[in-house]
């Protein structure tokens, strides 16, 4: 009977003094080297091809990378992101709280809000808000059956910027509301019982006990939401707001240097998202610290 189990191997029969797992050769090492070499060669080929392809026109990319117009667009994209984040966190907190409320009509309203703004695609929302003036030409504030207090032409009110803040901000707060609701729900019910039991009011129970503990569940998804949001701001170019993408589009419509200018936008988005991602990793580390502490405590017990 043949006892071999592979081409160069033989079945182990009985103990041998030379057997030592520390000397074992890992399987599949050659295969990994070959795969690494193939992937590496392919990436190198892509870089070289991109660098040598004259149509990329890297000199033009370099010329526009830090041009005033592009930097202005960049600042618009960044400030829009920041503003939307603040808007989303504030309104999202209110909606999230309403969703966790024990008052049914409030809960219903919050549910409808998140349902609507999460279901309608962001691009559609932007166009809708931008064209609000068609639906409601005049926005009037008046005493019911009484005189008008204030009347604004919707076209004056809805600039591309306000349309962008409304279109993406309401969407953003719907997502934030879900994140906050889930975060609050992740805090053990016993914490509320204990807080009430030492005599804290409902308000103090929320702000001193529940909210601080829910931050661990809320902050990391908010970070990734910020990254998604930065990318989503490129949609506002459709309503003519001069963000990064719209700016490069405006330039290449004039100069016809389409690809190099799209590369400028691509590189800037890559840089910004990378920076945010590093921040995101730091946030996640910080908020999972309790887990590391637990491990440290276990080590202490063992000593």
């Amino acid at each position: 009977m043949a006892t071999g189990i592979g081409r160069n191997t033989a079945a182990v029969e009985g103990p041998a003094a030379s057997d030592d797992a520390a000397q074992a050769v890992p399987r599949g090492r050659t295969r990994r080297w070959i795969l690494t070499a193939v992937v590496g060669a392919f990436l190198l080929y892509l870089v070289v091809a991109a660098a040598r392809n004259p149509r990329f026109e890297w000199d033009i990319v370099g010329r526009y990378m830090f041009s005033d117009l592009v930097l202005e667009g960049l600042v618009t994209s960044l400030s829009l992101t920041a503003m939307l984040l603040v808007f989303g966190v504030l309104l999202g907190t209110l909606i999230g709280l309403a969703r966790a409320s024990d008052f049914a009509p409030l809960r219903g309203f919050a549910w409808t809000f998140t349902w609507f703004f999460r279901a309608v695609p962001p691009l559609v929302q932007l166009l809708l808000w931008y064209n609000l003036a068609y639906l409601i030409p005049e926005i009037t504030l008046s005493i019911p059956f009484g005189p008008e207090i204030l009347s604004v032409n919707a076209n004056d009110l809805i600039s591309p910027f306000t349309a962008a803040v409304l279109g993406l901000g309401l969407l953003e707060s719907a997502y934030m509301a879900e994140i906050i609701r889930a975060g609050l729900g992740s805090v053990d019910r016993g914490q509320t019982d204990a807080a009430l039991s030492v005599g804290l009011s409902r308000r103090k129970t929320f702000f001193r006990i529940v909210l601080p503990q829910s931050m661990r569940f809320i902050i990391p998804p908010m970070g990734s939401q910020a990254i998604l949001l930065l990318k989503a701001t490129s949609l506002v170019s459709i309503i003519g707001l001069s963000d990064l993408l719209h700016t490069v589009q405006a330039i290449y419509n004039r100069t016809l240097e389409v690809v190099p200018l799209l590369m400028v936008a691509t590189i800037w988005y890559l840089i910004l998202v990378s920076i945010l991602s590093v921040g995101q990793i730091a946030l996640e580390r910080r908020y999972s610290r309790s887990f590391a502490e637990r491990k440290a405590a276990v080590r202490e017990d063992l000593v």
């Binding site: 053990d188 016993g190 914490q191 019982d193 204990a194 807080a195 009430l196 039991s197 030492v198 005599g199 804290l200 009011s201 409902r202 308000r203 103090k204 001193r208 006990i209 601080p212 503990q213 309790s290 502490e293 637990r294 405590a297 202490e300």
Partner: protein, 254 residues
């Protein structure tokens, strides 16, 4: 004349259709240590949670001293008290939970000063001094700056007992204080409760530890199906004949 710390009259508690507490009448005298026994689902925990105003009640009344809990009298009848008034009433009782429920983001010391500084209006340094005294009483002086997750279950529960005493409550309520503990940690928690009981603190203890109840309680209440079916001095209850429901419960649980 010994005062009643807690008085309960015809208390009714429903969880939607389920009648969890039926016609509970009970008086707790000052300094009394009462153990509440009974099978799972008999309403023991619900009773202490109702006393502590963590559960709304659907009928009857509960008094802490002379004060009606959870409601105020108006010309048109009873009306729910404001949240802050209920909070002030809760602060006059100390509650120890089965799952300890220490504030996870605060150190042991911070857990102990939360009530005194936030509710009782005590100065921080006074509250800390008092907290250190309390920690000494539960043998945790060296754990003041630890976080709850760094403590064993027994240590957490002893810290929770100290926290429940920090507001200097008129009565201490225990909701199965040892049921979530590993068997080898039960003893240290019971010992601490025993020591505190010996100082004359009024206590209501929901427990499954019959032996402990016999040793520490002056009086035992036996509940079944949401009713108090036996209520009497420990010695008398513990000698219940085995053919009664209480007797067979005791025989099963010992």
């Amino acid at each position: 004349m010994v005062r009643d710390v807690i008085t309960i009259r015809r208390l009714q508690k429903y969880f939607s259709e389920f009648h969890a507490l039926k016609d509970i009448d009970l008086s707790v005298r000052e300094g009394e240590v009462i153990a509440i026994l009974g099978p799972s689902g008999s309403g023991k925990s619900t009773l202490v949670r109702c006393i502590h105003q963590l559960e709304p009640i659907q009928g009857g009344a509960i008094y802490l001293g002379d004060e009606l809990l959870g409601y105020e009298r108006t010309r048109s009848g009873l009306r729910n008290l404001s949240d802050s008034a209920v909070a002030r009433q809760r602060a006059r009782m100390g509650m120890v939970f089965q799952q300890f429920n220490l504030f996870q983001h605060k150190t042991v010391l911070e857990n102990l000063i939360e009530g005194p500084t936030q509710v009782m209006g005590m100065k921080r340094h006074e509250a800390e001094a008092q907290a250190r005294d309390l920690l000494a009483r539960v043998h945790l002086s060296d754990k003041a700056d630890s976080y709850p997750r760094q403590l064993s279950g027994g240590q957490q529960q002893r810290a929770a007992i100290a926290r429940a005493m920090a507001n200097r409550p008129a009565v201490m309520l225990f909701d199965e204080p040892t049921s979530a503990l590993d068997p080898e940690l039960v003893g240290e928690v019971l010992e601490v409760i025993r020591e505190i009981a010996a100082t004359g603190v009024t206590m209501l203890i929901v427990t499954h530890e019959i032996r402990f109840a016999r040793d520490v309680a002056d009086r035992i209440i036996f509940m079944e199906d949401g009713r108090i079916v036996e209520d009497g001095p420990t010695r008398q209850i513990m000698s219940a004949p085995a053919d009664t429901r209480l007797g067979s419960f005791l025989a099963r649980s010992m």
